[in-house]
C-alpha cells in the first residue's frame, strides 16, 4: 500500500482499477518508395499539412480556448508551414526516396534531440511543441486517430500525466469512476469541468506515473486529497463502505432532479448555477438548473495578452443565453484584481490587492474595457433573459456611474445601428460591508441584489481564508455577517426586489436552512451541488427555519 498526496478538484471518493494512458507513441516503419511514387508521396505530404492546418484553425476559432492555448496552436501552425521543414521533407522524398512518414518522423526526432540537448530547461521544454505537431501530422497520415479511451469502463480510475478539457468531457461519457493526474492544477479548465461533473479527481500528484502500474487497485479520496495505491484489505473495506454511502446519497439525490426547489411548506426558492467557463453549461442543463445566477467572466481575461473584443464576448454570452432561455443568465462584469490583469493594464504594484483596484473599480477606471463588455452583454440579450451584475460595489454612487455608462453604451450602439435589447436587469453584488449597510440606497437603484458571501465574510471579519494561520477566524455564520445578510434582504424586500446568495455559503448544505430562514429568494450554486442543495431546500420548513434564525440570533447576541 502506498499513499500519495495531491490537490483535490472535487470532493468525491472513487475506488477502481488503474488505467494508465500515456502519450501515445506511434510506430513508424522507416519505409522507402519507388521513383514513380514520388509525385503521389509529395502530394500526400502537402495534403496532410493542409488538413492538419485546417484542424488547428478550427481549434483556434473555438473562442472558449484560453489565450495561452491559442498561442501554442499558432506556434504549431508556424511549425507546419516552416519553409525549411517543408523543403527538407520534399527533398527527403524526392532525393532519398523516403516515404513521407519516414521523412517526417526522422526530421522531428532530430529536432527533439536538439531541444533535449539544450542546457536551458525552459527552452528545452519546447520540444513538446514539436512532439505534438509530429503526432498530429503522423497520426493523421497513419489514420491512427483511434479512440484512446476505448478500454475504459465504470471501474476505471484514469491515470494520466495531464488532461485537456475536451478529453475530460470524452472520458466522462465513459462513466469512469475517477481521474488522477501527475500535473495540472485545481483551477485549470479541465479541473473546473470535472468539478461541475462531480467526477472524483486529484491533480498534481508528483511521482504518480512512476508508482502506479496498470490494473493496480486505486482509491481517490477527494476529501483528504490522497491517492492510495494497492490499498490493504482494511483500507479497502473502509473505503468500500464510504462508497456505498456515497452511492446511496447519489441515488437519493437523483430522485429530486425533476422537482422544483421549494420548502416543505411551499415557499419557492429559485435555484440557479454559478459557472466559470462556458463548457459548464451542459451540466447546468443536465441538472435542471433554473438558469445561471452567476456567470463569471474572468476566464476571458485571465492569461490574455489582449482584451477580448466585443464580438468575441457577444458570441460567448449569446450562446449561453440561448441555451438557458427562458431561464435567466446573470453575467457579472469583470471581477479581477489589478494583479491578475498586469498583462493588459498598466496598474502599478499594489501592496494590498484585495483592498485595491479590483471589481467595479477597475471597470470605472478603464471605461473603454467596461464599455466593450457592457455592449456585448446588451447585444446578447435577444431572448430577454440576460441580466448584468456589478462586483465589489461599496456604495450606490458606483451603481449610478455604471448605469450612466450603460446608457452611453446604448446610445453608441444605436448610432452604429447595431441591434440590442435596451431592457436589461441590473444588479449589485453585496460583498463589502459598506454595501450591506447602505443596501437600502443600493436596492433603490437595482433590479436585484446578489450576496457574495466569500468576500463579505472576508471583509467583515478581516480574515483571508486562504491564510491557514487565521482560517479559524473565517466564520460565515458569525453574528456580524448574519446581521449584514439580514439587513440586505430586508432592504431589498422593502424595494420589492429579489435577493440571491451566490457565494460559497449557498453551496454548503449546513447553511441552507439559515439562509432560507433569513428570507433569501434565490440561491446560486456550483452545478455539481445543485441536487444536494435542492434536496436540502425540499427538507426545510420555512416556519421552522425562521424560528431557527431567531434562536441563533438570540444565542449569538447573548454570547456577546
Amino acid at each position: 500500500m502506498m499513499i500519495m498526496k495531491g490537490a483535490s478538484v472535487s470532493s468525491g471518493i472513487a475506488i477502481g482499477k488503474a488505467k494508465i494512458i500515456k502519450k501515445e507513441v506511434l510506430h513508424i516503419t522507416r519505409k522507402y518508395i519507388k521513383d514513380h511514387e514520388i509525385k503521389t508521396e509529395v502530394e500526400k505530404f502537402e495534403n496532410s499539412i493542409t488538413h492538419v492546418l485546417n484542424e488547428i484553425d478550427l481549434l483556434i476559432k473555438d473562442i472558449s480556448q484560453s489565450k495561452v492555448h491559442t498561442d501554442i496552436l499558432t506556434t504549431h501552425k508556424m511549425i507546419l508551414i516552416d519553409p525549411e521543414f517543408t523543403s527538407k521533407i520534399k527533398r527527403s522524398i524526392t532525393e532519398k526516396l523516403m516515404s513521407m512518414e519516414h521523412a517526417v518522423s526522422e526530421h522531428f526526432d532530430e529536432i527533439v534531440n536538439i531541444f533535449n540537448d539544450m542546457d536551458n530547461d525552459y527552452l528545452s521544454q519546447r520540444s513538446s511543441d514539436y512532439e505534438d505537431v509530429a503526432y498530429r501530422l503522423l497520426s493523421y497520415v497513419l489514420d491512427k486517430r483511434t479512440d484512446r479511451f476505448g478500454n475504459l469502463d465504470e471501474n476505471s480510475v484514469l491515470i494520466m500525466e495531464d488532461i485537456s478539457p475536451s478529453a475530460v468531457t470524452k472520458i466522462f461519457a465513459k462513466n469512469i469512476c475517477g481521474l488522477c493526474t501527475e500535473k495540472g492544477s485545481k483551477n485549470a479548465h479541465s479541473s473546473i469541468i470535472a468539478r461541475s461533473m462531480n467526477l472524483p479527481m486529484l491533480v498534481a500528484v508528483h511521482g504518480l506515473l512512476e508508482n502506479v502500474k496498470e490494473n493496480d487497485n486505486i482509491i481517490i479520496d477527494g476529501n483528504t486529497e490522497k491517492v492510495i495505491i494497492s490499498p490493504d484489505k482494511k483500507t479497502l473495506g473502509k473505503y468500500s463502505k464510504k462508497i456505498e454511502q456515497q452511492k446511496k446519497e447519489g441515488d437519493k439525490l437523483k430522485k429530486v432532479l425533476n422537482f422544483k426547489a421549494k420548502t416543505s411548506d411551499g415557499k419557492r426558492i429559485k435555484l440557479m448555477s454559478n459557472i466559470e467557463i462556458p463548457e459548464e453549461i451542459d451540466q447546468v442543463i443536465k441538472n435542471r438548473s433554473e438558469g445561471i445566477g452567476l456567470f463569471r467572466t474572468e476566464f476571458l481575461f485571465m492569461d490574455a495578452d489582449e482584451f477580448p473584443t466585443e464580438e468575441q464576448q457577444f458570441q460567448i454570452y449569446r450562446k449561453i443565453a440561448e441555451k438557458c432561455a427562458p431561464e435567466p443568465v446573470v453575467i457579472r462584469t469583470i471581477d479581477l484584481g489589478g494583479d491578475k490583469l498586469s498583462n493588459l493594464l498598466n496598474i502599478g504594484h499594489e501592496l494590498n490587492p484585495n483592498l485595491g483596484c479590483r471589481g467595479i473599480r477597475i471597470s470605472l477606471e478603464y471605461v473603454s474595457v467596461f464599455k466593450t463588455q457592457i455592449k456585448a452583454i446588451l447585444r446578447a440579450n435577444m431572448k430577454d433573459n440576460v441580466k448584468m451584475m456589478f462586483p465589489m460595489i461599496s456604495c450606490v454612487s458606483e451603481v449610478l456611474k455604471a448605469k450612466m455608462i450603460i446608457e452611453e453604451c446604448k446610445n453608441e450602439l444605436k448610432e452604429q445601428n447595431i441591434s440590442f435589447n435596451p431592457e436589461i436587469g441590473i444588479g449589485a453584488m453585496i460583498e463589502i460591508p459598506s454595501a450591506a449597510i447602505t443596501s437600502d440606497d443600493i436596492a433603490k437603484e437595482c433590479d436585484f441584489l446578489s450576496i457574495g458571501t466569500n468576500d463579505l465574510v472576508q471583509y467583515t471579519l478581516a480574515v483571508d481564508r486562504d491564510n491557514e494561520t487565521v482560517s479559524d477566524y473565517y466564520q460565515p455564520s458569525h453574528l456580524s455577517v448574519l446581521r449584514l445578510i439580514k439587513m440586505t434582504i430586508e432592504n431589498a424586500h422593502l424595494h420589492n426586489i429579489k435577493v440571491a446568495v451566490c457565494g460559497e455559503m449557498a453551496s454548503e448544505k449546513k447553511y441552507i436552512k439559515l439562509l432560507i430562514g433569513l428570507g433569501i429568494d434565490e440561491l446560486s450554486v456550483s452545478p455539481g451541488r445543485l441536487l444536494m442543495i435542492k434536496n436540502e431546500i425540499l427538507q426545510t420548513d420555512l416556519g421552522k427555519a425562521e424560528e431557527l434564525v431567531r434562536k441563533i440570533f438570540n444565542a449569538l447576541e447573548d454570547e456577546n
Binding site: 498561442d71 516552416d82 519553409p83 536551458n120 527552452l123 519546447r126
Partner: protein, 88 residues
C-alpha cells in the same frame, strides 16, 4: 545587406511565443532574413531555426537581412526584441 547586433533582453529567452512573433514579422517581407548566434546561422523565417538557436537572456544575436525591403524588416525585428515581446 544590413547586419545589426542585438542582445536578448526578455528574461525567458527565445521560447515559442517570441519565436512565433519573429517569424510572423519576418515572413511579411521579401528580403532574406538570417540570424546568427556564435557559429550557428539559421533562416529567420523558419520557426524551427529560431527556436533551435536556444537564445537565452543575455545572448547576442546578429540579424542579417538582404533584399529590397531589408531596412523595414530589420527595423520591425529590432523593435520586437526591444519590446521584450510584451513580457516582463
Amino acid at each position: 545587406m544590413i547586419k545589426k547586433t542585438i542582445e536578448i533582453v526578455n528574461k525567458l529567452g527565445m521560447h515559442a511565443r517570441p519565436a512565433t512573433m519573429i517569424v510572423k514579422a519576418a515572413t511579411k517581407y521579401r528580403s532574406d532574413f538570417r540570424i546568427r548566434k556564435e557559429d550557428m546561422e539559421i533562416n529567420g523565417k523558419s520557426i524551427m531555426g529560431v527556436m533551435t538557436l536556444a537564445a537565452e537572456f543575455g545572448s547576442e544575436l546578429d540579424l542579417i537581412a538582404d533584399g529590397p525591403d531589408e531596412e523595414y524588416l530589420i527595423k520591425e525585428i529590432v523593435e520586437l526584441f526591444a519590446s521584450k515581446f510584451g513580457e516582463d
